[in-house]
């Protein structure tokens, strides 16, 4: 026979696991430092690709000007400027990633605590199982 209290708790837990809270539960399984490290490594590679693409788009859009004037450039200075710009952009995005990942992990941890509390309530309901009204609890039934 279906225990309505247990059913409600299990439905609530299933609802918790699907959707946004489910993603947060997966985040909460990481240690904080591991989660932030993974996010920062992803940001490092993706931002590097994006910076290369931006430089490529800029060069493509100003190809005539670059080809006309490249003979007069000090290529060392140009390379230094590009490198400094890359480092500044990368540092900015890594800082933003650190802050957002840190906040997201803390929120995930809080959601995981709520989930664990609901699980404990479900375990308690299972250990002292409620019976429908009007029927007594018999051994072996």
């Amino acid at each position: 026979m279906v225990n309505p209290i247990r059913f409600e708790q299990m439905a609530s837990l299933a609802d918790f696991e699907s959707g946004k809270d489910g993603k947060m539960l997966r985040i909460a399984r990481y240690y904080k430092s591991d989660y932030i490290a993974v996010q920062m490594i992803k940001t490092f590679f993706l931002t590097s690709i994006a910076v290369v693409l931006v430089i490529g788009l800029f060069a493509a859009g100003n190809m005539n000007m670059i080809l006309d004037s490249i003979d007069n450039w000090n290529l060392t200075t140009v390379a230094a400027v590009l490198l400094i710009a890359y480092i500044v952009i990368l540092a900015g995005y890594l800082a933003v990633t650190y802050l957002t990942a840190s906040r997201r992990w803390k929120r995930a941890r809080k959601i995981a605590e709520i989930y664990e509390k609901k699980l404990r309530e479900l375990e308690l309901t299972g250990s002292s199982e409620a019976v429908p009204a009007g029927k007594s609890k018999r051994k072996g039934s």
Partner: protein, 335 residues
């Protein structure tokens, strides 16, 4: 104002009852509007301009998450760009990757705004979404809104330079790329990006001030900021944007955004009260803003259609007046 709030509450009840279907309709409308915009502004590829394909994709967007709309937008734009030439297609892919990696990655819940912004800009209401984001979202929504403006600029650049690109031929890469990329980041688009950013930040800041009717004040402030940027752009960069069209679009957008916000904010600022209390630890300065009578003490399920002949059991605001001082003292005792 209470009439608007009552209407807004009824709309929320209606939405709560039919949210599954209404969400699907919204996704369908956004997808269709977006795909029609892309088709109207480009239309170079017979495959990606096929009406039946667009209908099928729009129906698919109905059942997929909202983030599917900008994804399909991207596929259509890249497909249309490749019909113009390999260089245009490569620029489209590079542009999408840059926007995704640097901006949209941080605002996944707002990604649909990158699809909505170009449509609204196309129909002359570019300020509606920035004002709405300032009222309802956080300032980081500007990443999605500005990405939408960049995409609009790219498609517009292809549309505006279609004739010149055909004349240049497929091998004049330098000139073609200059036209495409220069058109995407033209002065007009840069002004629009700065205007949208400033509108979102100003509306959000004014909306969160502790002043009465701050939400109502923030809407015309957003419109005024947008117009200021248009006029500044015309004066400094000679962008040539029509201020009259901008004014009409800003007024219409602000009216619409203000109406939606008024329906959603059931606060009666005329009856606000200021109270002061102290306990052993703190001195409290409290501002209590009552909700309109129709919103007070009701749950969604209680506001229902009446049977014919049945009278509404409404108590007037005087009978429902709440002693806030007593309520605060009671809650402090419970603490």
């Amino acid at each position: 104002m209470s009439g608007l709030a009552e209407f807004g509450k009824r709309m929320k009840i209606f939405y709560a009852r039919w949210s599954v279907y209404l969400d699907m309709l919204f996704k369908l409308a956004l997808a269709l509007a977006s795909f029609i915009w892309i088709r109207a502004m480009s239309g170079y590829s017979p495959l990606f301009s096929n009406v039946f394909l667009l209908l099928v994709l729009a129906i698919l967007c109905m059942v997929l998450p909202l983030t599917a709309v900008p994804v399909f937008d991207g596929i259509l734009i890249v497909g249309q760009a490749f019909s113009v030439g390999l260089d245009a297609g490569a620029v489209a892919i590079a542009l999408y990757l840059v926007l995704l990696i640097l901006f949209l990655r941080f605002v996944p819940d707002d990604a649909w705004e990158a699809a909505a912004m170009p449509v609204l800009t196309w129909i002359g209401l570019p300020v509606f979404l920035p004002v709405w984001c300032g009222l309802k979202r956080k300032p980081y929504a500007l990443l999605a809104v500005d990405s939408g403006i960049v995409l609009y600029g790219f498609v517009r650049a292809l549309h505006a330079n279609a004739g010149k690109l055909r004349e240049l031929g497929s091998s004049a890469y330098a000139s073609r790329l200059k036209l495409i990329i220069g058109g995407t980041f033209s002065d007009r688009m840069v002004v629009l990006i700065f205007a949208a950013t400033a509108v979102i930040i100003m509306v959000y800041s004014v909306r969160n001030l502790p002043a009465d009717n701050a939400f109502l004040i923030s809407v015309p402030v957003g419109g005024a900021v947008y117009l200021a940027f248009i006029l500044l752009g015309n004066a400094v960069l000679h962008t040539g944007m029509d201020p009259v069209t901008g004014l009409i679009g800003a007024v219409a957008a602000c009216l619409l955004a203000g109406l939606l916000e008024a329906m959603d904010t059931p606060l009666d600022y005329r009856k606000s009260e200021r109270l002061q209390f102290e306990d052993d630890e703190y001195y409290y300065y409290v501002k209590a803003v009552p909700k309109f009578a129709s919103d007070r003490g009701r749950s969604f399920h209680e506001v229902e259609e009446l049977m014919p002949g049945e009278k509404r059991n409404d108590d007037g605001p005087d009978k429902n007046a709440v002693d806030y001082e007593q309520k605060l003292e009671d809650s402090l005792k419970n603490l």
